[in-house]
């Protein structure tokens, strides 16, 4: 049973001027972050229920909160997975999607089963400099995903055994 009330309360608390501007004491900042994280966790369940209802299948949905530092255990370990993209805007949009992976080649298909151009690109070296190579994948799968107005698209990603011969990364010598 998911619900959004905890996140709603956490966001409401974060309307305080100290939370908006960052003038709170450190232990209060920690509490704001904790409340938001707990609220988001409960809300994920709600979103999962909604997506199951909309898609007509019961999936084990995963929310990778650390995609900004190229960390997502599901995409790093799986040879096949699906990506669901919900677009809250009233017009079709297209977004570049980056997912950390460990394979060298993947195929991506759109909701109609049509192939979507994709490629595996190296993660910025600076990420690995920061985190000492201990966290995150070395590569990311990149593809452009589009989603309909106020709707969602489902993309299927499957690992391929061989590198796509059409993709030739060019890496001039680093300075």
């Amino acid at each position: 049973h998911g619900d959004s009330s905890m996140l709603r309360e956490a966001v409401a608390v974060a309307q305080h001027h100290d939370a908006v501007t960052g003038t709170e004491k450190q232990h209060v900042a920690n509490d704001y972050a904790k409340q938001l994280a707990m609220g988001w966790e409960r809300c994920q369940l709600l979103v999962s229920n909604a997506l199951s209802s909309l898609m007509g299948t019961k999936e084990t949905f995963t929310f990778c909160n650390s995609l900004n530092i190229s960390v997502c255990p599901l995409t790093e370990a799986s040879s096949q997975f699906i990506v669901i993209l919900y677009n809250p805007l009233g017009r079709r949009v297209s977004y570049p999607i980056r997912l950390p992976v460990n394979g060298v080649s993947y195929s991506v298909t759109d909701p109609h089963g049509q192939p979507v151009p994709s490629e595996v690109v190296p993660v910025s070296i600076t990420t690995h400099g920061l985190y000492g190579n201990s966290v995150g994948a070395l590569q990311e799968l990149l593809f452009e995903a589009s989603a309909p107005p106020v709707g969602f698209s489902t993309f299927t990603v499957t690992q391929s055994p061989h590198r796509d011969p059409n993709v030739h990364p060019i890496q001039p010598p680093a300075q």
Partner: protein, 286 residues
């Protein structure tokens, strides 16, 4: 040597091969070219001086000098260029704690600057307020524009307030404004807009320049009530690492709003990818 470049069907970004810094942005469709240099600097946080005991802190931004210090100790920064069919990007390392990826996705009419800053070192005893500064030859006549809570764009004039005669005593802090979603500078023809992924402080300290504060770490309380310095750190007492991105748009003044308004909506209401292994059982809410 020839400049390095990254490009897609909309834009081309050139870099100086000797320094590794951004040098120029071209809007290919509009045939616009603008020299733009961008780099990271830090303002040395004031701990108070003869004029005022006010220290820089959580409430107060008060650098002890109007001239920020480049984060990269040398003219040349470390770079690596990656070109693929869907993305072209230049990785820039300014220091061990400040780096950036300048990125062009195929089909997207903007330049993405993904910056990673921190942990800010303060072992030298100086609080630091980190900025990303863009410098262009645009004749901006002391004017720049920031948004008011993502709604109306407000004209800001350097060292000026619209409703009273200002005697400016803080040439940097006195010209900083909230940037909730975007900031831009322009001349008669060209507009350079930066969209932010979070609220930041920003300004145009001299004509043609634009800057945004991306991170700060301070050692003194500003004595305005919080009672502790803005020194957020992790369990190992290291400062936080923050990552974010700026979206850069170059367009004509007449067409710029079309681009930045739609793009800002897409940033604010960006879809969150939800993942699943697939092959789930059929499900009906009943």
């Amino acid at each position: 040597p020839q400049p390095w470049d990254i490009r897609n069907e909309h834009l081309r970004v050139l870099f100086d091969p000797l320094t590794g810094h951004m040098k120029e942005i071209q809007n290919l469709a509009k045939n616009i070219s603008l020299p733009v240099s961008q780099s990271f600097y830090w303002y040395n946080a004031s701990i108070g001086n003869d004029e005022s005991p006010q220290a820089s802190g959580a409430y107060i931004f008060r650098p002890n000098s109007s001239d920020p210090i480049p984060i990269s100790g040398s003219q040349r920064i470390h770079t690596s260029l990656v070109k693929n069919s869907l993305v072209q990007e230049l990785h820039q390392t300014f220091s061990s704690w400040c780096s950036q990826v300048v990125r062009l996705y195929m089909g997207q009419p903007y330049v993405e600057l993904e910056w990673t800053v921190g942990p800010i070192p303060v072992g030298d005893g100086w609080g630091k307020e980190i900025i990303s500064r863009f410098q262009t030859p645009l004749q901006t006549r002391g004017r720049f524009y920031t948004d008011s809570n993502g709604r109306q764009m407000m004209e800001r004039r350097r060292d000026h307030r619209p409703t009273w005669n200002l005697s400016q005593t803080e040439p940097v802090a006195g010209n900083y404004y909230p940037v909730t979603s975007r900031i831009f500078i322009r001349d008669e023809k060209i507009q350079l807009t930066v969209l932010t992924d979070r609220s930041q402080g920003g300004s145009s300290i001299f004509d043609g320049s634009m800057e945004l504060m991306v991170h700060r770490r301070l050692l003194y309380d500003d004595n305005r009530g919080v009672g502790e310095p803005l020194l957020e750190q992790d369990g190992d007492h290291r400062g936080l690492v923050v990552r974010g991105h700026h979206v850069l748009l170059l367009d004509t003044v007449s067409d710029a709003a079309d681009g930045h308004r739609l793009r800002a909506q897409e940033l604010f209401m960006a879809p969150y990818p939800v993942l699943a292994p697939g092959g789930g059982a059929p499900y009906r809410p009943q």
